[in-house]
Each structure stands twice: as structure tokens, then as C-alpha cells.
């Protein structure tokens, strides 16, 4: 089957205080449709940067990123954003919840924007993540772990073609981590999604068969 994500010769470097810092170099890998992959690497190996580049948020220094046959970095910013909106969901370490919306609206916003909102699926996710009592609260009124669960529910609810998750369980306990993995399984089964999960957690990584390891600026499957 044709891979849904194709990465070829991807490099990223930063300039900081006059010095060039190479995050990774000549990364090449594919992600198959309806698969889950754990992105592993030590702190500073470039996991977040890679997620951002795949999401179309941060430009690569060189290389090609092809998602569902779309070379996203050839697009203009508005087109890239629209592509992301319709095809992807991203879970961030900082949760990126919208401060002016309550938990319920935060969860439904993305799926409503792409006209893909499913009330029963939302109820299912709310139950799965134990968010029922938090629905009317605002992000600043709930804890970091709760915010993370809201962010995950929002992303999963969109039934994305591609889900990019950056440390989705970083602030969660064992029980909630299991719920997250269950939600990912639901996506794989029901929506045939492709999931890339950047994680430090060995237990999470061990639950995912396919692994992409970032080490010394290189990727290894």
C-alpha cells in the first residue's frame, strides 16, 4: 500500500547566537496508512521539530514532506493551514487549548470547523477521558493533565487522516495513559488513521509496534 507520509532527505538547522545548530539531517522515512508509529529519541533529538515540520507549522531547512500525495511545503501558508485543518490533528505538549472557549467547545471546535462533528463519538471520548464534570470549565480553571486530555479528545474527535501527537501522555497517570492509547486504537480501527506519537514513555512506546528512532540527527526505523 502507498505510504500516506513520505519524508525524504529532510534536514533542519537553527541559528542561535550566531551558531548553526543542526537538529537532524537527511531524514527519510515513510508512514503507512492506518498505522501507528512511536517517535522515540532523547531530549533535544528533534522530535517536536519533526512533528512541527510534518504538521506544516515549521519549515524544514531542506528535504521533502509528502502527505497524502501533497508536498505540503510547496504550498502557500493559507493552503498549508487548510490542508492541516482538513487532514491532520496535532496534539501538542502545551495543549494549545483556546482560552476563550470552555472544555466542551474546545473539544468540538476542530471537528465542527471541518464539518465532521459526531456527538456520540464526542460523548464516548468525554466518558473515556473522564471529562464530564469539566465541560463548562475554561482551560485556565483545570489542571495540566486535564487540559492534556481535552487536547487529545479534540484531536481524536476530528477522526483525522493523520494524527501527530507530541508527548501526549507526558502529564498523565497510568490510567489516563491507557485511555489515550485506547482512543488511538479507536482511530486506527474506525477511521483508518495514521498516528505518529513522539514519546519518552517506554510503556507507551512498547504498546506501539512500529518505532521511529531519532538519534544523532538521523532516523532509524
Amino acid at each position: 500500500m502507498e505510504p500516506i507520509v513520505k519524508v525524504n532527505g529532510l534536514s533542519k538547522s537553527f541559528e542561535s547566537s550566531g551558531e548553526i545548530f543542526q537538529v537532524f539531517e537527511e531524514l527519510s522515512f515513510n508512514l503507512a496508512q492506518n498505522s501507528a508509529t512511536a517517535l522515540i529519541g532523547e531530549s533535544g533529538s528533534g522530535k517536536t521539530t519533526l512533528i512541527n515540520i510534518l504538521a506544516g507549522l515549521e519549515p524544514p531547512s531542506s528535504g521533502m514532506v509528502m502527505i497524502a500525495k501533497n508536498e505540503i511545503w510547496n504550498y502557500r501558508e493559507p493552503d498549508r493551514a487548510r490542508f492541516r485543518l482538513k487532514n491532520m490533528a496535532v496534539i501538542f505538549q502545551q495543549y494549545n487549548l483556546i482560552p476563550s472557549l470552555n472544555v466542551s467547545s474546545n473539544i468540538s471546535l476542530h471537528s465542527q470547523l471541518i464539518d465532521n462533528w459526531d456527538q456520540s463519538f464526542q460523548d464516548e471520548l468525554i466518558k473515556l477521558f473522564g471529562l464530564k464534570n469539566l465541560l463548562m470549565k475554561y482551560p485556565e480553571e483545570i489542571s495540566g493533565g486535564q487540559q492534556q486530555r481535552v487536547a487529545i479528545a479534540r484531536s481524536v474527535l476530528t477522526k483525522p487522516k493523520i494524527l501527530l501527537a507530541d508527548e501526549p501522555t507526558g502529564n498523565l497517570d497510568e490510567e489516563n495513559t491507557m485511555s489515550v492509547l485506547k482512543a488511538f486504537e479507536m482511530l486506527l480501527e474506525r477511521c483508518k488513521s495514521t498516528i505518529l506519537v513522539a514519546t519518552h514513555s517506554k510503556s507507551v512506546a512498547n504498546k506501539i509496534k512500529s518505532k521511529l528512532i531519532l538519534k544523532s540527527g538521523r532516523a532509524k526505523k
Partner: protein, 803 residues
């Protein structure tokens, strides 16, 4: 302090906010105090003119010999020689006689504040007194005077001994006028003999009226400038604090003593406030200097006084100017420190206003607004004085400022709930707007107040101007007015005007002052002819008004009388008859007329009744109905045939033109100030949005990462600010009209004793709204575009340390 080095643009705008607030406040203060000082000087000189003066009947110089003759006849007078310096036309030379002038302390006050100067005068005659500016203007003119600087004098006035002035002006043995230093003598024959006439003071009340109106305007703007300034300071500093609270909390978390955090915060705030304040003083001085020509022109036009061209900052003004940023900064820092103190370091998030916290505040604010509204209503039901009027206007401003964020928040929340799931982006847009209101409500309030006051004042001024013009048109019903000083001329006119073919009709007018309820009141006798019935402006009347005036049973009263005594149509007043002191004359009040520019209560009655009970003197005033084209011929006829002086003949169009000019000048400064205030309020929006841009970026990033293009977000951002600004501006209209209502119905009545008919001028609102909208649009565009131009780097910047 390091925070500001990292964010120089924010620092720049913070200082700019503080500076603008100070500039606005200090410029108004400076103008007001300068105008007041100048006015006091002018009035003192004027008071000297206005006491009572004796001039030549033929408008010529008076031989100095008349001085001795008048003194011998019992007239306490002092001679004055006045003229323009031949070689320096802008400077007026005032020659005085130091011995006789010292009899009148009020005259002296007008000339010198320092009594020592007079002693110097007596000792050395060739001494001249003037301000430093005048001395500089005199340069090296060969006047042969030893100059002494006295800053209490008017600029461009040189005071010297009368003999020295006579030499300089080339009028040896002549003087311009005499000024009375004591009560007028009963010996009037000497005046006739010397071909002199006594000119009584009669226009002082009008002048005071205008100056009061002028200062009232400036004081109201000063008050508003202070409130708007405080809002600007509060708004700018509050945002700076919000951004730095994580740092404060971190410091507390690592064990830095609370006192150290608070002290350093206060010191930092004071340094910032003083920096902004000092820059603001310079800006304010510049602003005041640019507005000063209007003030100078106004006062010059009204009082004929030259105010010089320099604004000098006194220590008191500098102190007052710095008070605002320091006070505002201390207020906000105290508020912030109190907030910090209540919060445990781990509860940082709670510092951000959650909806529940805010709901409580809404209830509190709404209750406060309602209580204040109740208080205002109670205050308006009882008689309202000047202080109370200002207080009511102040309350209106506070109520409006309290209600605006509530209205915005409640209105937007209602919209949020009504469109909830159907349009997600619109739902977010409105929800975000509700939150945004919290952050920018102070800037919006500053804008709202500036626009409201501009609308209120402009509406009142326009209203006043139109009413004034209509009133002037109706009051000045005939083409020519004649005012003579002696009975002989009056008799000649009474008997002769009937036969003049150039005069279609003439209406004698007579008046005198009586005491009514122990207050000075003018009674006027006039002929209630058809021309009056058709034209005379009345604010209240009934069907029998003119009939009763004609038969002498009814009188008309002016608004000042009406408001002073609360007497209205149908009420009976009893006046003492001057011709028959035993008799009380009963009159029914049958009409009330507006009487702008007059302080005293006035009663108008049929001239027949006036002559029956008050004075049988021949009237000294005449209104002449003529063909306007024949004015020159009539004037010539009055001069030659009846021996009238130029000053005794008044052309209707000249009075109209003069009155209109005075009016325009009086309010020129008001217009300039209201425009400045709008500009400053829009700059506040600019500074707030620049300061806010980082927070906004953080708020919008989640939308961008979901997949909303930046250009769409930019459009939303612009639309949001425009929406909030437009709602604010529309809210300013009723607020402005309410201010206008209180200005016209309370402040004017309390200050001047007349009430203007309230009229709406939508064109003024539209014009003000357009100016404010344009200013706001520019203020909104700049930070929004700047923010989005830099946004990819800034948005991604959040992840930089986390690759």
C-alpha cells in the same frame, strides 16, 4: 527592569502611554492656569476701566487742567494717558499719576501686585514697569526710562508716570480719560461745562459671563483629562503587570521575600511613572503651546488683553502634572500587589480572570452602576448648584465607564449562546471577544469618554450657537440702537424721531436696577408694539401674554429670574414702586424669555407702567426701525441733527457680528481640546494593542495550529477590534447626549441661569464617530499587521526550546 530590555517596543509604548496621559493632563492644566492668570490680569485692568470713567464727549483728548477742576468740584478721579508707542505699535503705554491713583486700591491691584513699585514711582519719575517679555520687546528704544520688571503686569503694557508718557506719546498736557477712585460726585454740571461725560460700568457682567463659560469649559476638560489620563496609565501598566506575573510568582516560589518583590515593583513603577511623566510634561507643554494661540486669541478678543506668547511652567504645574502618572501608577501597582498577595505562587492560573470570578465582578460592577444611577437621579430631583452639576457629570462618566464593559460582555455572551454550535468560528470569535473586553476595557473606556464628551460638548456648543443666533436675530429686532447718556439728547430724540422720514418707527427702552428679595434686579420698560409681539423670543408664554403686557398687568421675566426665584407663568410678584414708596405694585408673570449673557434677573414691563411707578425720566435707549440700506444716512442724521456721538449709535449687524465672533472664539479652544482628546484616546488604543500583541499571539496560536490561516486570523483580529470599537463609539452617543443634557440643563443653569433648548445634531455625532473610527482603525491596523508579520517566528518560538 531586564524585562524592558528584552521588550524595547513594549517599553516604548508603556512610556508613551504614561507620557500621553501626562501630556493631556498637563497641557489642560497649563492652559487653564495660564488663561486664569491672564484673565485675572486682564480683569484687573478692565475692572479699572469698568469702575466708572470720564471721557471727552467728543472722543478727544482731555486737557490736563480738567483734572484740577474736577478734583475741586469734588470728583475723586485720577488721570490716565494711554496710547501706542510710536516706534513699537504693539506696546501700549499707560501713563498714571501715582498720588491720586493710590486712593483706589482696586485700581492699584490692577496695575501692580507689588505695592513697593508705587513707592519707587513716587521717588523716581523716569521709571517704567513692564514684564520681562515687554522689556525685551522694547529692546534699545530710546525711551530714557529705567526699566523695572514686574511679571504681574500684562505683556506689552508699559506703565510709567503720566508726564513721562506724555513726552513719549507727544501729548503734552493732555490725557485720555479719568478714572473714578471714589463714588461719583453729584456735581454733574462740571462735566457738562468741561465737555466730559461719565461712562458707567455696564458690561462687566457680560464679560464675567463669558470668562466663566470659558473657564468652566477648561475645568471640565481638565477633569476629563485627568480621568482619561488615569485610564491610560492604568491600562498600560496593568498589561505590563499581567505579562510579568509569572516572573513575580517564580521569584516568590524560589523564596525571594515578599517585601523585596513589592518594594522593587514599586520602585520600578515610580521610575517608569516619572520617566513617562517628565516626557509627558514636555509633550504637554508642546501641546499647550500649539493650542495657546486659540486661548490667547479668545482672551484677547474678549478682553482686548494681550497675553504674550510664552507659556511658563511653574513648579506647581510640574508637580500637578507628575501627580497623575504617579498616582495612576501607584493605584495600579497597589491593586496588583494586593492581587499578588492574595495568590499562592502555585495558583498563578487563578490570576487570569476566570469566567466565575468575572461573573462576580460583573454583579458587583452592575450593582455599583445601579447605585450610582440611583444617586444621580436623587441628585437631579433637588436643586442643582455648580458643584453638584460637576459631580453629576462626574457620576455619569463613572456610570458609563462601569457599564460599557458589562454591556459589551453581556451582549457578546448572549450572542455566543445564541449561535453556539452552528458556526464554530463565529462562536470562537465572539467568545474570544468577550475575553478581550476584559483586557482592553480601559482603553475602550478612554475612547468612549473622549468621544462622549466631544459629542456632549460639541452638541451643546452647536445647540448654544444656533439658539444664540436665533435669539440674537429675535432680540435685535430693529436695525439701529441708540444709547445716550443725558436727558437732553433723549428728549430731543423723543420729540424729533417722529418726524424723521428715514425712521419707520422707534421704540423707547428704559431700565433701572431695583432690589428684589434683596437681590439686584433690572426692570425694563418697553413699548409692547407689534414688532415685539412678532419677534421677541419667549420660552414660556400663554395666549394672553402680550395682551396683559400691553394693558400693564403682566410682565415678562428672564430665565435667570425664573430659575433664581422659581416663579413661573401665572405667579404674582409684588414690586416696590420707586415713585410711590408706600405702594406695592402687583404684576402677573405672563412670559419667560431667554437672556443669554446676563447674570441678573430681569423684569420687562410696559413702558407706561414703568413711568407710572418707577421713573418718569425720558428713556435713554431707542430701537430704531429703518430700511437697512439707509443706515449710513440715518447715522449721519443722528450725528449731525441730534448731536449723538459715534459710540451712541449701534448698528444691528455690527453687534451680531461681534457677538458671533466672541462666541466662536470662546469655544475655539474647546474644539481644539476635544479633537486632541480623541487623538490621544486612539493612541491609547494603539499602545494597548501593541502591549497586548504577545498575549494575543498566544491566544491565536491554537487556532493557527488547528489550521486556520494567519490571514483569516488577521481578518478576525481586525474585525474584533473594529466591532468592539464601533460598539464603544455607539455607546458614546447616548453617554455624550446625557453629558450634554446635564451640561445644558444643570451646569448652564447653575452657572449662568439660563437653560438651552435641547436639540440633536446627528451630523456632529457622525463626524465625531468618523474621526474616532478612522483614528481607531489606524491604531488597530498597525499592531495587528506588525503582530502577524512576525507571527510564524513568534508562534514557533514557543517550541524552540523544545526540539
Amino acid at each position: 527592569m531586564k524585562h524592558w530590555f528584552r521588550k524595547p517596543l513594549q517599553f516604548l509604548f508603556l512610556v508613551m502611554g504614561l507620557s500621553l496621559a501626562t501630556a493631556l493632563w498637563s497641557s489642560i492644566q497649563l492652559l487653564n492656569s495660564q488663561a486664569k492668570n491672564s484673565y485675572e490680569d486682564a480683569v484687573k485692568i478692565l475692572t479699572a476701566y469698568e469702575t466708572e470713567i470720564i471721557i471727552s464727549k467728543k472722543n478727544k483728548l482731555i486737557p490736563i487742567e480738567s483734572f484740577a477742576k474736577l478734583r475741586r468740584a469734588g470728583w475723586l478721579v485720577t488721570p490716565i494717558l494711554e496710547g501706542k508707542l510710536p516706534s513699537q505699535n504693539s506696546i501700549t503705554i499707560l501713563g498714571i499719576e501715582p498720588i491720586s491713583i493710590s486712593e483706589a486700591s482696586s485700581l492699584l491691584d490692577g496695575l501692580f501686585r507689588n505695592g513697593e513699585n508705587l513707592k519707587e514711582f513716587v521717588i523716581k519719575k523716569n521709571i517704567g514697569f513692564a514684564t520681562q517679555e515687554t522689556v525685551n520687546s522694547l529692546g534699545k528704544l530710546p525711551l530714557g526710562l529705567q526699566m523695572s520688571v514686574d511679571e504681574s503686569l500684562l505683556t506689552n503694557v508699559l506703565i510709567t508716570d503720566i508726564s513721562v508718557a506724555a513726552k513719549i506719546l507727544g501729548h503734552q498736557g493732555e490725557i485720555t480719560r479719568f478714572e473714578l477712585t471714589g463714588p461719583a460726585s453729584s456735581n454733574r454740571q462740571i462735566l457738562e461745562k468741561l465737555d466730559l461725560r461719565l461712562v458707567p460700568s455696564n458690561s462687566q457682567a457680560d464679560l464675567e459671563q463669558l470668562t466663566e463659560s470659558f473657564h468652566l469649559n477648561l475645568s471640565a476638560f481638565g477633569l476629563l483629562g485627568f480621568i482619561v489620563g488615569l485610564f491610560i496609565v492604568y491600562s498600560t501598566l496593568n498589561l505590563a503587570f499581567e505579562q510579568r506575573k509569572t516572573t513575580y510568582m517564580a521569584l516568590r516560589s524560589i523564596g525571594v521575600p515578599v517585601r523585596t518583590v513589592y518594594t522593587s515593583t514599586l520602585i520600578e513603577i515610580l521610575v517608569l511613572a516619572l520617566t513617562g511623566g517628565i516626557i509627558g510634561i514636555f509633550l504637554g507643554h508642546w501641546l499647550a503651546s500649539s493650542l495657546f494661540p486659540d486661548v490667547a486669541a479668545t482672551l484677547n478678543h474678549i478682553y482686548g488683553a494681550n497675553l504674550g506668547n510664552q507659556l511658563v511652567l511653574s513648579m506647581k504645574e510640574i508637580f500637578l502634572a507628575l501627580l497623575m502618572p504617579v498616582l495612576g501608577s501607584l493605584l495600579i501597582s497597589t491593586n496588583f500587589i494586593l492581587k499578588l498577595h492574595k495568590m499562592a505562587p502555585q495558583n498563578l492560573n487563578a490570576l487570569m480572570a476566570g469566567s466565575k470570578l468575572y461573573d462576580n465582578k460583573i454583579k458587583l460592577k452592575l450593582s455599583t452602576a445601579l447605585i450610582l444611577m440611583g444617586l444621580t437621579l436623587i441628585l437631579t430631583t433637588s436643586p442643582v448648584g455648580l458643584f453638584k452639576s460637576f459631580f453629576i457629570i462626574g457620576l455619569t462618566i463613572i456610570i458609563a465607564a462601569t457599564l460599557l464593559p458589562i454591556i459589551l460582555r453581556v451582549g457578546l455572551s448572549f450572542l455566543v449562546s445564541s449561535i453556539k454550535k452552528k458556526l464554530p468560528l463565529l462562536h470562537w470569535f465572539l467568545s474570544d471577544s468577550v475575553h478581550q473586553v476584559n483586557r482592553i476595557s480601559l482603553s475602550l473606556n478612554a475612547l468612549m469618554l473622549a468621544v462622549a464628551v466631544t459629542i456632549g460638548v460639541d452638541n451643546m456648543v452647536k445647540n448654544f450657537k444656533e439658539t444664540f443666533n436665533i435669539w440674537l436675530e429675535k432680540r435685535l429686532i430693529t436695525e439701529v440702537y441708540v444709547k445716550v447718556e443725558d436727558q437732553n439728547k433723549a428728549e430731543l430724540l423723543m420729540n424729533g424721531l417722529h418726524n424723521e422720514h428715514l425712521v419707520k418707527n422707534f421704540y423707547p427702552i428704559t431700565s433701572l436696577k431695583i432690589s428684589f428679595n434683596e437681590q439686584l434686579t433690572t426692570i425694563v420698560g418697553f413699548k409692547p408694539a407689534e414688532i415685539y409681539i412678532k419677534n421677541w423670543p419667549l420660552v414660556k408664554s400663554n395666549k394672553q401674554t402680550w395682551e396683559k403686557v400691553q394693558n400693564g398687568k403682566g410682565v415678562l421675566i428672564n430665565e435667570q429670574f425664573f430659575y433664581k426665584y422659581g416663579l413661573g407663568i401665572g405667579d404674582i410678584i409684588k414690586l416696590d414702586s420707586l415713585l410711590n414708596p408706600e405702594k406695592k405694585v402687583r404684576y402677573e408673570i405672563v412670559g419667560i424669555y431667554p437672556d443669554y449673557g446676563n447674570r441678573l434677573g430681569q423684569i420687562m414691563m410696559n413702558i407706561q407702567s414703568f413711568q407710572d411707578y418707577y421713573s418718569k425720566d425720558i428713556p435713554l435707549n431707542f430701537a430704531l426701525e429703518i430700511d437697512p440700506r439707509s443706515y449710513d444716512s440715518v447715522s449721519e442724521m443722528l450725528l449731525s441733527k441730534y448731536g449723538l456721538l459715534d459710540v451712541e449709535i449701534i448698528n444691528q449687524s455690527t453687534i451680531k457680528e461681534f457677538s458671533t465672533q466672541i462666541f466662536d472664539r470662546t469655544f475655539a479652544i474647546t474644539n481644539a481640546l476635544s479633537d486632541s482628546m480623541i487623538v490621544i484616546a486612539t493612541l491609547t488604543i494603539l499602545t494597548t494593542l501593541i502591549t497586548l500583541s504577545e498575549i494575543r499571539l498566544a491566544n491565536l496560536t491554537p487556532l493557527w495550529v488547528l489550521g486556520i490561516p494567519r490571514i483569516t486570523l488577521l481578518k478576525f483580529e481586525l474585525a474584533q477590534f473594529l466591532m468592539l470599537t464601533l460598539i464603544t463609539l455607539f455607546f458614546a452617543i447616548p453617554t455624550g447626549l446625557l453629558i450634554c443634557h446635564f451640561l445644558t440643563n444643570y451646569l448652564n443653569v447653575a452657572a449662568f441661569g439660563w437653560k438651552l433648548p435641547f436639540q440633536f445634531y446627528p451630523m456632529i455625532w457622525i463626524q465625531t464617530l468618523l474621526i474616532a473610527s478612522l483614528g481607531s482603525l489606524i491604531a488597530i491596523l498597525f499592531p495587528s499587521i506588525l503582530m502577524f508579520k512576525n507571527s510564524p517566528a513568534l508562534m514557533i518560538g514557543r517550541y524552540k526550546n523544545d526540539f
